[in-house]
């Protein structure tokens, strides 16, 4: 018995160490333990105001997955595409997606006030949460998510044209980064990918 124990303890210890080494540092370790982690680490604290005028922080979303997109309500190009894709993916998930908080963080605080955001997000999806705030608050959030944004011009209708990152971020219930989706991804494929991260 002692001989078996002499074998077993170091082997189990080595196995445990091996497992720890193989998974340490991977944000999506459950799903992609064998895959290289994406070389980005977006996410972090934010303190903003939602489209109902309520102050919210990242901690208010603990326990829920977050689908986050940075854009602006009057964006003529990629924002409606990305947001509609997010919305369609949520619908495709059905009840499985009930725990997901879909979020638009504006990069245009001047125009995307609480009053303007409320009807804009409602048009996209009844559950879409619009977040705005001061320039400094939004700048901090964009910086945390490694999103660049820059005003590059104006349309004839006096609407801003802002160049900005347009990936959709899937964050875990602890605020941990799980993965990104291109804004042009097929909603059904996005839903299938999200489903793998749930549960």
């Amino acid at each position: 018995m002692r001989r078996v124990f002499t074998w077993l303890v170091p082997i189990l210890a080595a196995a445990a160490l091996s497992l720890m080494a193989a998974t340490a540092g991977a944000h999506d370790k459950k799903l992609h333990a064998a895959a290289a982690p994406l070389p980005i680490d977006p996410g972090g604290p934010f303190a903003l105001i939602d489209h109902r005028g309520k102050a919210v922080t990242d901690r208010d979303f603990r326990g829920r997955h977050m689908l986050i997109f940075f854009g602006y309500a009057t964006c003529p190009g990629i924002c409606p595409t990305g947001l509609r894709g997010m919305a369609a993916a949520l619908d495709a998930l059905g009840p499985d997606g009930d725990g997901i908080a879909p979020i638009l963080v504006t990069i245009d605080p001047e125009r995307d006030t609480v009053e303007n955001l409320a009807p804009a997000v409602a048009k996209v999806h009844p559950r879409l949460i619009g977040l705005t705030g001061s320039f400094d608050q939004l700048n901090a959030a964009a910086k945390a998510y490694k999103v660049s944004a820059k005003l590059v011009g104006w349309t004839l209708q006096k609407q801003p044209i802002v160049e900005h990152g347009s990936y959709i971020y899937l964050m875990g219930p602890e605020g941990d980064f799980l993965t990104i989706f291109p804004p042009i991804m097929d909603p059904d494929e996005m839903a299938a990918a999200i489903r793998k991260y749930l549960g």
Binding site: T6, A15, A22, L38, S148, E163, H164
Partner: protein
């Protein structure tokens, strides 16, 4: 003593197997040759998306933050996640200059959720825009 030695060897072998798994979780170093494309127009097929016909639109799309891709000669589409040492943004629009060009790049490949993400470390060669499609398709999306 013999038992201890055998145990130690077994433990070391098992640990090295685990280390191998950990080391396997590194990106694949690749060299990709192909045309730089605007992923939105290419994947949605809302207009003709390649070569000189689509160059102007591709620049506008990249400036708008739409992910830039490479249509590889290997038939795969790669989504460019980073170019060079840019650490401040995800999908920086700093790829305007190479839109529509035929390039060969060195980079790291990350396959996630069915998408080939590429971080470009170096543009090895840039042949410019060689896919001259504007005579046939006009200048997209604005016409001639």
């Amino acid at each position: 003593m013999r038992t201890i030695a055998v145990t130690a060897v077994a433990a070391a072998m098992l640990f090295s197997l685990g280390q191998g798994a950990a080391q396997a979780a590194t990106p694949e170093r690749v060299q990709v040759t192909g045309e730089v494309i605007d992923s939105w127009c290419y994947l949605t097929e809302i207009m003709y998306p390649e070569g000189s016909a689509h160059h102007l639109c591709a620049i506008w799309c990249a400036a708008g933050g739409i992910p830039v891709g490479i249509k590889g000669d290997d038939g795969k589409v790669y989504t460019v996640l980073k170019l060079g040492a840019d650490t401040t943004s995800v999908a920086s629009p700093g790829v305007l200059e190479i839109q529509s060009r035929q390039v060969k790049v060195d980079g790291d490949l990350y396959v996630r959720d069915g998408i080939n993400y590429l971080t470009i470390g170096k543009i090895v060669s840039d042949q410019g825009i060689v896919n001259l499609t504007h005579d046939e398709y006009g200048i997209q999306p604005f016409g001639e």
